[in-house]
């Protein structure tokens, strides 16, 4: 039986790491992730958590140390955001290509420039092609639970793919809610001790890891990596189901609300989905046939689940919390591909950008998204450009 604790997103992740029996953490502080590493350090120092913590001198070194330790054969963790995630970019590809079951918490913070401390998804989006499983939590409870589920998924022998568990900077990382923290023994039984079932650095079984790979064999190794990611979808579903039976909390790769008969469906990720749910309920009560689709696992992208959820939709509005300058939002483009896969060619689809650099996504923002969508549909205006729905007009007050 778990214990209810008042935890913010960061502390929840730290407790998730401890419950997952992580053996080695190497991390570098960056706002808004710092409480994660501080909590872990504190738990270790107080003797409550038996693990090694390496106080590395940069994020690049953080992921390098973690890759080194994971290659040797122990369970590892790191966390970062924004600039730090950008600095370790070289290594995120190394980690996934080396098929290491590392879990990393990302506390979503805007990529520079302009320089910001606050939330948007531009940082984790830079990593979408780096081959990591990406889970977007919407509450501190999910943050803790997703860390545990991520380890079980990443370490599965058919997956062997590292995972990012992301929480919105400040909106989730610094939001305190009651969190059901699993009992140490129970979570220990759920996770189990680490069994390195791929690479190890062992003098009794020597080989070279990650050396130069010729064009003749590169594609096949990469394809095997793709299969691992593809398998993650099914393994996630299994792990979500098992988690529900043990801990009583049920998750899925997507979360749907009233999509079956909705005319207009809003698609989004992260903490804004809570506000979106509130607005959708209100609009439903007022008689509007709207629905909400929240994408939980952005990688592997749940294309079939999304296609299915949107199959009867007349209109789809997608909110991306990242600028994606030069084209449409990343989530929008994935949704379009899923619509096509699902055969829903008639639906009108609109790309929205909101909540950049820590700008709150209010009920008004969501209401505007629905209003603009409705308006454009009525006027027969297709989506030529992403709609920056909360961008102030020139001359408007900046506060």
């Amino acid at each position: 039986m778990g214990k209810i604790m008042a935890l913010d997103g960061n502390a929840a992740i730290a407790h998730g790491v401890m419950r997952s029996q992580v053996q080695l953490v190497a991390a570098y502080p960056i706002t808004p992730q710092t409480p994660i590493v501080e909590t872990i350090s504190s738990l270790i120092d107080k003797g409550q958590y038996n693990a090694t913590y390496i106080n590395v001198e940069s994020e690049h070194s953080a992921l390098s140390a973690v890759v080194g330790a994971a290659s040797t054969g122990v369970r590892t963790f790191t966390a970062s955001a924004s600039h730090g995630l950008a600095l370790m970019h070289e290594m995120t590809g190394v980690a996934s290509g080396s098929r290491l079951p590392i879990v990393m918490a990302i506390v979503n913070r805007a990529m520079p420039s302009p320089m910001s401390l606050w939330c948007d998804h531009s940082d984790i989006m830079t990593q979408r092609d780096q081959g990591w499983i990406q889970l977007f939590a919407k509450s501190p409870q999910e943050a803790l639970d997703f860390v545990m589920i991520a380890y079980k998924t990443s370490e599965h022998e058919d997956v062997l793919t590292p995972s990012m568990v992301s929480i919105d900077g400040f909106f989730l990382s610094h939001l305190t809610e009651p969190v059901d923290v699993p009992d140490i023994e129970e979570s220990g039984r759920y996770i189990g001790p680490f069994v390195p079932n791929n690479f190890t650095l062992d003098p009794d079984n020597p080989y070279a890891i990650n050396n130069l790979t010729s064009p003749g064999i590169f594609t096949e190794i990469k394809y095997a990596q793709k299969l691992g990611m593809d398998n993650a979808a099914g393994v996630l579903d299994q792990n979500f189901a098992e988690f529900a039976t043990i801990f009583g909390r049920s998750y899925g790769r997507v979360e749907e609300y009233e999509t079956a008969d909705a005319e207009t469906i809003l698609v989004c990720m992260g903490s804004m989905s809570g506000t979106a749910l509130h607005v959708v309920r209100g609009l439903r009560a007022a008689g509007k046939k709207v629905g909400l689709l929240r994408v939980v696992s952005f990688r592997p992208f749940p294309k079939k689940l999304v296609a299915n959820a949107l199959k009867n939709a007349k209109n789809v509005a997608v909110i991306d919390r990242a600028p994606n300058i030069g084209s449409f939002g990343a989530l929008y483009e994935e949704v379009l591909a899923s619509l096509k896969l699902g055969g829903n060619h008639a639906a009108a689809a609109y790309s929205f950008v909101a909540g950049l650099g820590g700008r709150d996504i209010w009920e008004e923002t969501i209401e505007n998204v629905f209003a603009v969508t409705e308006d454009n549909v009525k006027k027969g205006i297709p989506c030529e450009e992403p709609i920056w729905v909360d961008c102030k007009e020139e001359g408007e007050d900046s506060e």
Binding site: G97, S98, R99, L160, N198, F199, N205, Y207, A208, I209, N210, N211, T213, I221, A224, Q225, G228
Partner: protein
């Protein structure tokens, strides 16, 4: 065949296949084919001091009863001849020998 190469071939057969970029097999390029001339040890002059063995970058010189060179791999860099305190090693053009593997 190099002992190491042999050992790893056996290992490769018994090991299960792993995922990702890795190499079990030992690189075994016949670098002896790079030579245009080869070191020959005058066993009369050789005092078995093993200085040539110490400096050989490719580890192809060994001392058992006599000091011998593995011509399969010797690149002919010339360091052994240069460092031999007794000038017991001379370089002879490859054309003097039938095959690269002649010992």
């Amino acid at each position: 065949m190099q002992k190491l190469v042999e050992e790893r071939m056996k290992k490769l057969q018994s090991m299960r296949k792993l995922k990702g970029p890795y190499s079990v097999k030992i690189s075994d390029v016949k670098t002896g084919t790079w030579r245009r001339e080869r070191p020959v040890i005058d066993l009369e002059k050789c005092i078995k001091c093993a200085i040539c063995i110490e400096y050989c970058p490719c580890g192809v010189i060994e001392k058992d009863e006599i000091v011998g060179i593995d011509y399969t791999y010797c690149k002919g860099c010339g360091i052994c001849a240069e460092e031999c305190p007794k000038k017991a090693i001379t370089f002879v053009p490859e054309s003097n020998f039938k095959t690269k593997e002649d010992v």
